[in-house]
Symmetry: C2
Subunit: 612 residues, 2 copies
């Protein structure tokens, strides 16, 4: 326990306010007033409460801090300056192109686990970290600082609910209740009782404090971890606290001070500011570190050619196969585990499975949290429901998070349930995530081999699985490198190259057989890697078929396989004809729907004939 | 008030159970057990409580019912059969390709306002309807039926919060608490007190009842509308209620009964079932109908060539200009109205503005609700935060909802705030929505003229606005048809066609000027309509420049302008070179970032030179 006096901690808080003002004024933009409301809380956490190795940000048992209100980034950077991790001069490079101190925190900085700035996501990540601590039997705590405006986001309540259900007493949420949003006051202002009742209803222990009273802050922090519930601290604060002409005043959100204003503000703060008074930070307790080592390899899948297995079930088999030898693997699902087949893993390794219930935003955030702790999280649900979490996936991309998403029940081939259950835009969504890998296997062997690589590769990866059973067409030894594609059919004199993936690959093969009877040869490509696209394979094939390509996808025409191929290969003069779902689909039998919307063998054959 | 006896209502409920079983067994799939838990509630609503014109589903003052737990669709269809709207024979066509009775409800049916099936969205739509009723001084009520598993979705709590803030006592949420989810029991089972505390904490009046006790159901419904708060009814029910071998048993989610099981189930239900006993449904009260008529035209914008105006501000001007003569227009924002400029409308028409706070999922759902009531809702926030609501936007597309989304602060040209605030995947997202229109103006006149058309056109439309100020380059009389494009520069002998939009159009024009000095002519196209794409204009231009096209976009390379152009035109042998943001961008000055990531005039000129 740190024994720094409250006076010294309050002095450090004022120094953080000064540094936040200096940095944002130098930048000419930023959110100083949002830094100033939280300065006392943050000073208490970093200099009077948390346990961490200042020299080693990656110590597995460091307490974790998530600045969910990411626009207060300069406050966090100012802490590092006070800790001596960076210089005060460096603070003045805030928001410059050449500086690592960005407008919102990113993991480019070793002390930042995840990018924040899209509000309402930090608590989900914190839940993932807290669950990871429990799994690894580590005693670090996770502290998440949120704004009061921020907790209007539903994802916060998804996270709060799961934390309550799992009794995460190693998780602390702090709400910086400064009353003022960006464009107006929040809905509840200083009615902190509303927040108290909400967190209590979500099974949290709640303490309401004056967020500028260091004694109160330290007292409530000292009680963190007691009992079985997660702790929510509602801290009543003033936006711009400490400076008379800013404190609790409208019109100061996201506004840097002019040089003159900054001088006046600093003149008010300086007498109450202290620097260099920090005591050594208590080290994390010495507990066995989790291994989190990747095995050299995984056992091979064991299918027979001609077996009929849905790729969604192959995912479940792979998750169990990989998870049995790779302790880093954890799984999450949103009450669909008996449809996605993640329940195969759940039954064998319940302690490594998190049931997230029907709350996909939080599921992805929790997975991101696990990823930051060295786990390899596989989160699964119907692919269409990942659209619910696009913003969380977007931030996972910005964070370079190690998150594996597996979406089942894609396209019209799910059949009778109807449009709302059909993923027809998931490829467009996942391709547009920076650094993402997007995979779409056609058979069980391909699905399993891609799963092996997803587990070994770092970053955001998406596996698109299908509901219908499909025949195994690859041997267990076949390799499927990310960024590759497979030539399924090819002969001299082929007229067109047809590129399929998932269920449409089999339609293309059927079409090839039918067309062969009419003496028309086509090349058939399995584009199992949508991003990066196996473009060299497709290009080489296309150039042998007069640059003529037909793509066939169980997806809308925008942003999917067809756009990917055209976007990559039109520069080579390759002409891409897209077969895709071009209207709002209906309920019906899978084969009826694939025929009606023009992505079955007959539609492919007809298109080929129209071109040759 | 309907005076049907409780015995008769319970009898009708059992008939609905029978019809739900018959329909799903005929279909061979579906969710009969989820219909059976809610049958008493639904019978009470439609035959003993709600006021509506059975013959006129579009009566503006009909009570509205939203089946948020859309998988119980057969229960709703069975109600219509009992009302005589459809035949019992027709129920047996459930889920067939040729039938309008789909697996989940869609607005293909006149009694359905919005598609449901992606859980947790109905309450937001209901909030929009309830706000619309208040705006139009109508006294209809909105009833939203949700499952207990469903309310784990954070969007439910976003909606609940806004309903509480606005004291929507014309809104009733009913939770069918049947304890069983899809893959396991819900987190709280029959602990209905958890739900009571949550809704109470969100400022709702809460009643917990036995969902199979008709007397209790009618009594609590009779008290709907009392007081100032919205009403939440937590109805404790049994999944599969009424049939001994299904009721409250695991393993019956989403499972149709076999013919034998159905016969056994119906044998149990038949003695307690009644049909044809319904009394005439009370008509809605006779109040003046809202006009909701589109004006013939809007006043023209009044800019001068050379004025420097950000398109985001032009949106604000247009919203005010259009809204001043079109009473259908309502606006919503997520605490960014002073950045998106929707505050221009808010200041003039506060009663037609809904502050949704920082909760984008709910904002889109509320907008959808307004749209169903004849309003033209414009919802605005930073474009990147619409990713938060992708699932709601997806369902709006399936609903054919009339929803206008306006996203500001796009791309690296926002500058210092950093990646988390930059929309770099919004074009990919919005293009992938079925039936959507995606617009991206470069100057203020174009933005205003596109706004006119968004207000007149029906469906989901997205306007992408920019943060930087740009010069007015079009006359106020210029027309910008949706699906068009503008030739900005063109001369005989041009070597390449450069397609830009938004900020990159001006970079392309600068590049044209620079290249002209080197004797290299390029055609410059303003692709203000991304979907539908102005492909004829682009194609015609490209064919005059040796089929050579360069697209330039402040967006990732996937799914945006470049993919749209290549996806449409590669079939014509047009070669599309994409300039886009190809790595995770950094904080910095807009012009620095556009240069660093290769979408500025210099990058365009360099690319042109590399090709000619």
């Amino acid at each position: 326990m740190n024994t720094l006096t409250e006076e010294n901690l309050s002095g450090i808080a004022n120094q953080l306010r000064i540094d936040s003002i200096v940095a944002t004024t130098a930048a000419g933009s930023g959110h100083p007033s949002s830094c100033m409301s939280a300065a006392d809380i943050v000073a208490a956490l970093f200099f009077g409460h948390m346990r961490y190795d200042v020299k080693n940000p990656h110590h597995p048992n460091n307490d974790r801090f998530i600045l969910s209100k990411g626009h207060a980034a300069p406050l966090l950077y100012s802490v590092w300056a006070e800790l001596g991790i960076i210089t005060r001069e460096h603070l003045k490079t805030l928001r410059e192109l050449s500086s690592d101190l960005e407008g919102h925190p990113t993991p480019r900085l070793p002390w930042v686990d995840v990018a924040t700035g899209s509000l309402g996501q930090g608590l989900s990540v914190g839940v993932g970290m807290a669950l990871s601590a429990r799994l690894d039997k580590l005693d670090f705590r996770t502290y998440v600082l949120m704004g009061d405006g921020e907790i209007a986001e539903g994802s916060v309540w998804e996270a709060a609910s799961l934390a309550g259900i799992n009794q995460l007493n190693n998780l602390v949420a702090i709400v910086d209740c400064n009353r003022l949003g960006q464009s107006q006051a929040t809905a509840f202002g200083y009615d902190t009782d509303v927040y108290r009742r909400r967190f209590e209803a979500f099974n949290w222990r709640v303490e309401v404090i004056n967020g500028h009273d260091m004694e109160e802050i330290l007292e409530v922090l000292a009680a963190a971890g007691l009992g079985k519930q997660p702790l929510a601290i509602i801290a009543k604060t003033e936006k711009g606290h400490g400076v008379s002409f800013i404190a609790d005043k409208d019109g100061w959100h996201g506004k840097a001070l002019s040089k003159d204003e900054a001088a006046k503000a600093i003149a008010e703060l300086q007498p109450k500011a202290k620097t260099g008074v920090a005591e050594p930070i208590p080290a994390p307790s010495d507990l066995p570190w989790p291994k989190n080592e990747a095995p050299a390899s995984y056992p091979a899948p064991t299918y027979k050619l001609g077996d009929v297995v849905a790729t969604r079930e192959a995912f479940g088999n792979a998750l169990l196969r990989i998870g049995s030898v790779d302790e880093r693997v954890v799984a999450l699902d949103g009450d669909t585990k008996n449809s996605t087949f993640s329940d195969k893993f759940y039954k064998k390794f319940p302690e490594r499975f998190t049931e997230c219930y029907i709350a996909e935003q939080n599921m992805v955030g929790v997975a991101t949290g696990f990823g930051t702790r060295g786990k390899v999280p596989f989160a699964s649900t119907f692919a269409c429901f990942f659209t619910r979490a696009f913003d969380q996936i977007r931030l996972a991309g910005i964070s370079g998070a190690n998150v594996k998403l597996v979406g089942s029940h894609v396209g019209v081939s799910i059949g009778e349930d109807g449009t709302s259950q059909m993923a027809l835009e998931d490829l467009a969504m996942m391709r547009a995530v920076e650094g993402s890998v997007v995979l779409y296997p056609s058979d069980a062997v391909c699905a399993e081999k891609l799963m092996d690589q997803m587990a070994q590769q770092k970053g955001v990866a998406f596996l698109r699985t299908s509901r219908p059973k499909t025949p195994v067409i690859y041997k267990n030894e076949e390799e499927f490198p990310i960024g590759g594609a497979k030539v399924q059919r090819q002969a001299a004199g082929d007229k067109v190259t047809v590129v399929g993936a998932g269920v449409t690959l089999f339609e293309a093969i059927k079409a090839a057989d039918a067309l062969a009877k009419d003496g028309i040869g086509i090349t058939v490509i399995d584009a199992y890697s949508i991003k990066p696209l196996g473009k060299d394979v497709i290009k080489a094939a296309a150039q042998k078929t007069n640059n003529l390509v037909i793509t066939v996808e169980d997806h809308y025409p925008e942003g999917g396989l067809g756009d990917a191929v055209a976007g990559e290969l039109s520069v080579d003069g390759i002409r891409v004809h897209k077969l895709a779902i071009r209207e709002l689909p209906h309920s019906g039998k899978p084969e009826e729907l694939m025929a009606k919307y023009g992505i079955d063998a007959a539609a492919i054959a007809q298109k080929v004939k129209s071109l040759v």
